[in-house]
Symmetry: C2
Subunit: 198 residues, 2 copies
């Protein structure tokens, strides 16, 4: 074993673990059926090493989901959605999501994410609480007459995911410059595609 009672956070072991998680998220985002051999190769480690860190595929998947959830939650938390006007909070949220686009793309393809997000039940570290702040922001915006009150907050949230996802996809396909995504996503999400009278 290693130094007893050591938190598996820093050190060689923690670094290898993070490398595997990052490589897994990236590889699985492109192909959710990626082989453990593919993931190990992408991480620059042997397949047996990967098995030493994560006993089986399910354990790895759980870890990647939890890790991605944590990264995304932290990014959303930093957006401070509770402060300032709802519209500005929403724009910070879009920027925060684009910052962790790769993790979002991975989570998108995982069926369990729906549960984890919809339930919004705080996990052991409360990472699942992030979507609640998003719903709060939307409902606050609706109450202040800034966001459409005719549709549910849940609907607005899901449309947000969808539009952001579409934007990231466009960038990955080279159809849109990376620095133009934010403006386009915000514009379409807020105004739709119809021209409104000034």
């Amino acid at each position: 074993m290693y130094t007893s009672g050591m938190q598996n956070e820093s050190g060689v072991r923690g670094r290898t673990r993070r490398a595997i998680l990052a490589a897994a998220a990236s590889a699985l985002a492109r192909d959710r059926a990626a082989t453990l051999a593919d993931i190990a190769e992408a991480a620059g480690v042997g397949r047996s090493t990967l098995h030493r860190y994560f006993a089986d595929r399910e354990e790895l998947m759980n870890a990647v989901v939890e890790d991605s959830l944590t990264v995304i939650s932290r990014s959303i938390d930093e957006a401070a959605l509770g402060q300032g006007p709802p519209l500005e909070g929403m724009r910070r949220l879009v920027a925060a999501m684009l910052d962790v686009a790769d993790r979002l793309m991975f989570l998108w393809g995982d069926p369990r994410v729906l549960e984890a997000f919809d339930k919004s039940s705080p996990g052991e570290d409360g990472s699942g609480a992030a979507p609640q702040s998003v719903v709060d922001l939307i409902e606050r915006g609706q109450a202040e007459g800034v966001f459409d009150p005719e549709v549910s907050a849940d609907w607005i949230q899901n449309v947000l995911w969808a539009v952001v996802y579409t934007g990231v996809e466009q960038v990955e396909k080279g159809l849109m410059p990376r620095h133009g995504v934010y403006a386009t996503v915000v514009r379409t999400f807020e105004n739709g595609i119809r021209v409104h009278a000034p």
Copy 2:
């Protein structure tokens, strides 16, 4: 063999073939990793019979993609996107897409669809031409000052797919009544989520 020169369209064989294709589209929409045994069972057919119609998995997948593409194209064609005001055409397009939601959900999860749609190269039966009429509609709307001219027609088209997909997903999860999807999708797609001054 069967009656010589017979088009494999009607008759027992054609009916069985269509049943397999429909079941495959449905099963694969829910789980793209669905087993051939699962698909055969969903179609009410033995696995060996499925193999008799489609030699291997790839052949089945190709057939389902082509079939779905044809069904969707026909539905879009019936929307007559070239006639009347662009906004009304867009609404008919949304309705047409919702009519073939199951096929859309299946195609969404297939990587090859991107190529088939983006290329919009007419296949042997011109089924790939449908998206072109969508792009035409969008560009016409932009030229007439009805649709946002600041973003690309391609972007608008992709956002449309995404919002429709989100709506269908909400229905399947029981979060929205089936008869309410059309209004919600159109409303959000046209106006976005912000409240606009009257």
